[in-house]
Symmetry: C2
Subunit: 315 residues, 2 copies
Amino acid sequence: MNSVSGGKVVVLTGGVGGAKLVLGLAQILPPEQIVAIVNTGDDFRHLGLWISPDLDTLLYTLSGKANATQGWGREGETWQFMSALRSLGGEGWFQLGDGDLALHVLRTAALAQGETLSTITQRFGADWNVGVRMLPMSDDPVATHLTTDEGDLPFQRYFVERRCVPRVSSIRFEGAERARAAPGVAQALRDTGTRAILIAPSNPYLSVDPILAIPEIRQALREASAPIVAISPIVGGKAVKGPTAKLMEELGIEVSPAAVAAHYGELLDGMIFDRRDPVGESTLPRLSIDTLMVTLEDRVRVASAALQLADRLAE
Amino acid sequence: MNSVSGGKVVVLTGGVGGAKLVLGLAQILPPEQIVAIVNTGDDFRHLGLWISPDLDTLLYTLSGKANATQGWGREGETWQFMSALRSLGGEGWFQLGDGDLALHVLRTAALAQGETLSTITQRFGADWNVGVRMLPMSDDPVATHLTTDEGDLPFQRYFVERRCVPRVSSIRFEGAERARAAPGVAQALRDTGTRAILIAPSNPYLSVDPILAIPEIRQALREASAPIVAISPIVGGKAVKGPTAKLMEELGIEVSPAAVAAHYGELLDGMIFDRRDPVGESTLPRLSIDTLMVTLEDRVRVASAALQLADRLAE
């Protein structure tokens, strides 16, 4: 592998954690050198609207509109829609902010007119001056479902409505085997000019696996010349946010970065561990750093370490 | 004709003016004795959402949520959606308030699942404790179009986007000839227990004519035993609101209550004139009163006069 200075950095990413990493990268690289390949397994139709939570989180984060405290949605969001909706007996379990609705309504209308999720996402990014190239993993529908002790649950029912309480025994990605990678995705991964492929510290099982479940993407990763480096979503034996650790326990997997590395298997060339975690028996090239991303400086530090490891692997 | 005390009062109504009349009626009659048959010729799909402006105006007015100053939409409405929509290049000519969106999103989702506009409207009314029975004129789509000096314009493009500026040469109601009356409409008109049928002071050409253009409704009105009384939308030779007077001039019609009465023709049994207007050569039974509806007392006065004339005609 050869280091491609000035080459593109491609990130496979899910929601909040991944968006933080991409934001860190955008501080140290020209945004147009960054390509984010975003999970759409969480996407779903709700009240007739097509909702793409991970794409929106990235869009809000990179355009400076994200609600930092809450971890999702827009800063300064208002809730008149939800209030009226509830007074009319509408389903209230999924929060739709007033400003946030604009994305969903415009996306739904554009999809109904035959536009693809890719071109809609590109347009939203341009409208909000996001320089990073944001690509949905696929323009075809892929839907994450969980088999739980409460039966089969679509992702948002599990994640939002049931707040990850049900015990999970297996996860599947409906439509993934038939889905094509969105335009630009396989090319970005395969491109010999690509400097690094990063796997964001998103939930491996719920946010990254849907991306890897698309055959064309899996194949492109296998054939990629750029080093592939994951950032551990496990910090000090716990998940920073969300159900990663709980899920790993339920699936009988040790809650450790090494177990995540083992999950990604031969795909990985290296991994960023948090220094609180044991390295275990893993012989995978790694850097151990503080991976907690609280401040913007933290995001830059983690992004830099990932690039540093990738560049070292490419030498 | 016989006066049916305690019988139902049926109102054919469009937007703001009609809603004022119905609100006045609801002060002097038990709401469950009132049936409003509402124009849906203004309905349209916008950004994928199905919008029924006259139904919503009535719903907001009767549930105490209407913005009295503005004449449309909700009191205390916020506009975060429109602001985000514009920042994403979305069509900004039609104002959709944050709370208002709940009606449109829920209605669109319910229609997509095969529910009828009638049952959706009934549900919204029940959720907001509206006692008046609100019936769309039809569950089938009817679309008002205007032939103008700027070409063919769907109603909302003419009314909202072009602010009634184009000169109108003719008006048509697409789908009206094939549309069936919504469940309950023809029965309410024909019912021998009906005390009066009122035509609200809505725009005769844009708000009432679409209702009359539905064959089943026209026929039911001809066969109705209850007296039919219109309230003049012309006050002192002018329209209180909206393009009625401008439209009458463009269509070569004298701007007078008598001309409106002539337009409704044999359908009418009586009419409420404003006392500022000349009676002309009309021999139609009438009452001349102050028809301006500014306060709630005004609305009660006009509603009472219409009932008084109807009851006199039924004696």
